[in-house]
Subunit: 481 residues, 4 copies
């Protein structure tokens, strides 16, 4: 069995010394800062769940190389049922963590890498696939956390990379005999600074002349030349200055923590380069990553979040004594409708999945359904938040702190006036948990993570066979006369 | 092979002499009236498709009794893949007909009947299941069209049947040694007057004292005491008085034709009675029928209709020279999104289906997903119609008739002023086809067929495990302290 | 007083002999055909309302020329209160007729004509305004019905008029000493064939070279060379073949009847030409007409329709015994919300109206609010229809005919099984009335009449002062540092 | 002129010593804490705007008592134009502050108090109106900030006050010769701790036996027995620990700050009591306050916020180089549509306002339109946030801090990789400003402030004349036969 224990993971991460900044300050040890600690704690929980026999069907799989039991996070789907299990894992992790599980995006890149490197080797005689397989064996054996990053910083998006600061997109600045040197930065990198390895995919469908940008590779956390700059929003501040984690909305695991990864002349040895210059394949990399990502992170993961939000909202309605009111029942039902609709799209994406490309042995979710999974989630998640905020009431944002409850002078007031059908503390914690959703980063985060709606709309239009539908209509309308 | 040819069907139906009225007049022969003829033609087309080797996977199955090839319309699903095939059939029939295939509702009652009669026999020692199996063998052998009806006329819905005209719901008025005598009426009966047999299910979840209403049975078309009164709306009138079918929006197959079936002391022999008095089972009958019906008729069937509407709308946009405009592309994509979302729910309902009750050998779609399939279709279909009407333009309702085009005096004007990027005739036919959708019965029909939204909302709320979601939220919010 | 009685109107219209075709047949006398008769009856009702002292505030005004009492349909708004009265008239007419009042579109062109001809005379030294005033005096004195038409047939909309059949847009083909000769056709012309006069405005914002298309004029009904081809949809057929008007959904007044007006070398004397060649003014004509039209026909008129639909839906809910159910109350309230929102936009358009151009004495609704009025109505009306259909139930489209109720053989069944908390006849009439809305032309008609959503979106974006909003944000975000 | 300068205000507020807690700590001087300071700064800005001659039409009015120029915040509307000016003030304050102006809720209670005390005096011979007028004269003369609070803490909302902790609603615990003693607490009190006076209205429509709860009064800030507990969410923490206000999303004025006001045996002299025991009038108080509040705070205020959000979103789109993309234009237009719709409802509420009760001299907005104004704003504001987040991109929540930009080690990276078409600093400030909206308290705050949707739905249903609409439909459908 190639699974590592949670202690092994914690020990390993405690030895990492990335160049990591947050809130304008350098953080020496990742465990020192409450924000990076929340990422470690979330990841650690995933290691626990993976070892839990109750969840082994969902959390583990058999390595295609060795037959050994490995984390599903390092597995390549080989059939439709694998895809189904994969989305079950995404949903369950979300239910258990209320935030990113930090092993997800990297994992979602693996099938696309396997498929596209296989294709390149076959069509162009490269040896990317061989390298990739070697790397994957290593990662499986060590049960590594592999983060995945794709979004370049882009600068002025009306311009191509070569028409502006060339570092606006990650690219090769030097090719050497033993490897390449890379510059640029990836934003929105989820959990990169606590991962063992950072996997990088191209974020741009490259055109002729942009060969330096057609680039996929992996580097160890903290490789020479890498700087991580953590996101920093009010929730980051709240956690940084918190006297007691219990005062937070998601006490242990926090919000979803990303960073900007800056590559300042970073060297990558050839055996860790999985594409370099093959512009014709960038779109396939992106599209294969996207469809896997949109089924899981875009869809099933958020279904898990919505499960939590629905549960919390129902509890607050009960705490407030209004859960039987017909308009509350109607709204809770609407939340259920939205949540299940997102689930249905992800399930269909798995069920209707296919081997792609044929012969590669790699299974991909159905293109239309995976994009739809993400597209519907954008709209649904936002509406679910609105409904949660509607039911919870203004107190979700105007509430005092649990510190007020503990203050000897005013604790009695808070206790008296914040109680409802349940004691103040219980109610305040659930409200604070909901605050984390309805007034936090998850609304925008969910809209954007795995790509905003317009991306999925473009794909849906492009892949739909309108000719077929036109023919059906013509036949019935008899325009052939 | 137990399949009948389209000619055998046509010959059989030409011999039927139901007591059928439409538009205030008695119709002696079903082929005499253009409305009933459209139902026959649609049904005949289904017989053709069933015999077409290209579609045999979808349209046929193996009888569980004889192993013979039978129409899937008379088949009981035995696994999840059967459910998938069933929804493929629903979608394809809709694509080919643009209206009801008239073998659907009856078929959707069969699994519920199989399951619930099996359960009653097991639990109450009745012999309903045996009777049902005998009947089903007969229907399969003769390849019969079996209509299905469930909705009572209800009178004042704030009252139970016994608190008003007792005939407001179909019920037994006399029990005899050889059978029962039945009164009442079922509305919205799709294709009943051209079917070989009319299958009747209870439309009411019966309470104690309402034993006479807990009733399921089948009778041959035109049994003594039955009167069919056809629906009659502007589209019925248009067809009735049409000089040429080509002037219609769905020339051959027309709109969905239903009728009111009146039972005025109709005798049903015991061997055709599948429930009589078992009030505890009415809810199960309804729920099992509903979940099958909502996946197919509620979901997949309308996906087929939306395929047609999208195709027609895209064509009109092309005819008008606006199909590349960004707002048109955006709207077509939205239609695709809605259509695929409905499909995803139906597919998930099939994929997540289960044997119900265990041991019965009958497969049912997932309860949540099948209800969702219908619920989302209600909203989506209406929006798809709005978008189709938006894109097609006012001419979809203000257009002249093809008769004007053929008129020697003004034909040249119509030809000149109704042409666009295509000739007037081609455009007018496609507009007329769209008129049939955007200004016809399908909007309301789709909302109501298989039950209005509130029904599905109630089921969704009832079957969702809110306790589980609450527990997840409590764990993360740490209200256990 | 310059008002004519309803009898005078009826007498006048009975003398008209336009070249009118419908359903492929020539109609010699307008009163002969049930469709054209419904237009006459609706118009006649407006004459009655105008004479009714109860409504004189709303229906009449004082002529700016003579001070005499005239129909508000022939009045030019001179202040914000006039605009308010105008929308009150639009709403009330809709409430009383359930269809077009047929004096509306022409009226909505008058202020734009007054303003723009005034402007042209002032800026270009033409005498259009003088001609227009003479014409308006005449129309006021005779209390004429003036129809208004704007939408050309357009052919292939990706092409300008000169790049395709030049008759795709109405244009001058010859300029003579005493007048002009005109070719082309206008579609969607509401009530044109029963009006006294047909007012024609350009439907295209003309560019250089398209001077022949910059054209506004008025011609008497049935002028030499004009042919009217009536719209013909299932509702037209139903009325044509109806044995008794009471069997219709809107018995007397029917659906909104439009026609295609074909101009085949029609001569227009110069005194009836209000623009000819002034391409720079076509956009102003369109925009001024549009803003008046979108407040009234686009907004207030449909508020009146929605009043009717809400009333009918509430009645059906009561007839069915479900009006107190919480989900029904919620849906009725939603309908009220939508209806009042459309009203609010129209009211604001009137309230925020301005003299345009300054000095002209003509009042125009606020541009943003009038466009919004129409834009919101498109979406709201469609949703109101959906809710009406949801509450009414499938019987709104599957119902039998009142002829079945009167049939001696089956009348007893219809009477028994269509009754609810009220007798069958009452219920059937109200359902038939709703059918006219939820399964008729009004959904698409309302979306398109006064221009589809994209038109209003374009105007809204164009006229909004985004710079001002940007500055506000910059000030607070302190990007000036 | 009875206006005070901003310095006079600042001097006055610096002398206040309320018992104020926030984040578990007592704050001695209001200027000491960055959160309370932001409230003072926002209020001070309103004093500045009031003195600015440019805005005197909007910000000032003439006292009905003295004819002197006073702040419109202390004025009672006397006609429809006053209402219009009032909403102009609400909108402009929001545009200038990006948060509450803190003089609004108190002001919105004044007309309801004037009207209802007038009515009570007239009908019950009390002298509440006289007291109220005396108080108002005083407030006008001193140009006081009067906060307004209405929402009780409610405890278990399924129970009336007397069935649970009686302090769940503010009530009288003792009546004395010179005044009353009050217990309970009001939540969501906006700007109460920096106001001069706290005005308290009943939050419950009282029934017989609940006379002690039918209570309206005003007390000076920091009266004996009052404790203020400030809201405390991540944005409060961010401000508390901020090293530089410029790093905040709304640097000076912050988010909307409310508090829980606890009344622990607070004495109120009779001359400051405006109702005590008149249960029949509580509903009128609430309804009159609500309709004024829903037009302004519910409607116009949020229109001002949406102006800011639209401006900021358009800027970010320009910064990112995507503002001309058709889907961005479409979305910006949708935001404009929503914003103007909310404005239209508020404008109509003012325009259709009425004297209420007749003879009182007090003008109230139209009931339906003011409720609609709030109801539409709930839905619109949430959608505007979603669109802003969609356009701004994930960086709105994942962005680093301006402290990172100033850090000597990594500033160059942030500067390089956060720039777009504009420098990093400019872009980061605008993103941070948007973050304040799309990931902050305003989504829920706007939904709940002035009452959640269900409240407005209930009012709309109750006040709509359905009988009238039913009659219209019956007339046309001819159910009278």
């Amino acid at each position: 069995m190639a699974l590592k224990t949670v202690d092994e993971y914690r020990e390993r991460v405690s030895r990492l010394r990335p160049r990591f900044f947050i809130g304008g300050k350098r953080v020496e040890k990742l465990n020192d800062h409450p924000v990076s600690r929340s990422v470690i704690d979330a990841t650690a929980r995933v290691y626990e769940l993976t070892m839990d026999p109750k969840y082994s069907d969902i959390m583990t799989a058999k390595s295609q190389f060795t037959g050994e039991t490995i984390s599903r996070s390092l597995y390549i789907h080989q059939n439709s049922q694998d895809l189904q299990r994969r989305l079950d894992m995404a949903r369950m992790n979300s239910q258990k963590l209320g935030t990113c599980n930090y092993r997800c995006p990297g994992n979602e890149m693996l099938p696309g890498l396997a498929a596209t490197t296989w294709e390149m080797d076959k069509e162009k005689g490269t040896d990317y696939h061989k390298r990739f397989n070697e790397y994957l064996k290593y990662a499986q054996k060590e049960d590594l956390v592999v983060s995945g990053s794709v979004t370049d910083t882009k600068g002025d998006r009306s311009k191509r990379p070569l028409d502006q600061d060339p570092d606006s997109y990650v690219h090769v600045v030097e090719r050497k005999s033993d490897g390449i040197v890379v510059c640029g930065a990836k934003q929105h990198s989820t959990g990169a600074y606590t991962a063992d390895e950072n996997l990088i995919l191209p974020g741009l469908s490259c055109e002729k002349g942009e060969e330096d940008y057609a680039l996929a590779f992996v580097v160890p956390n903290g490789a020479e030349g890498i700087t991580y700059i953590g996101q920093y929003n009010p929730y980051s501040v709240e956690r940084e200055y918190s006297k007691n984690l219990q005062y937070m909305g998601n006490p242990i695991y926090g919000q979803r923590e990303t960073s900007l990864i800056v590559f300042d002349h970073v060297f990558v040895p050839w055996e860790r380069v999985f594409m370099c210059g093959e512009i014709d394949y960038t779109q396939r990399f992106i599209s294969r990553f996207a469809k896997t990502h949109r089924m899981n992170c875009g869809g099933a993961c958020k279904v898990g979040f919505m499960d939590l939000i629905i549960g919390a909202t129902q509890l607050i309605a009960e705490y407030h004594g209004i859960s039987k009111k017909s308009h509350i029942v109607q709204k809770i039902t609407r939340m259920i409708q939205l949540n299940n609709t997102c689930l249905a799209c992800a399930v269909s994406a798995a069920y209707m999945g296919n081997e792609e490309p044929p012969g590669s042995g790699v299974f991909m979710p159905d293109d239309a359904m995976s994009n739809l999974s993400k597209l519907n989630t954008n709209e649904s998640f936002w509406e679910v938040l609105a409904l949660a905020g509607d039911i919870a009431g203004g107190v979700a944002v105007t509430m005092p702190s649990e510190m007020d409850l503990e203050n000897p002078e005013i604790g009695k007031y808070v206790s008296k006036y914040l109680k409802s059908a349940v004691p103040a503390k219980k109610r305040m914690r659930m409200l604070k948990f909901l605050q984390n959703w309805v007034a936090g980063l998850h609304g925008v985060g969910t809209y954007q993570g795995a790509g905003p709606s317009q991306n999925e709309m473009l794909v849906l239009y492009r892949i739909t066979n309108l000719e077929e539908k036109k023919k059906m209509a013509e036949e019935l309308a008899n325009t052939y006369y």
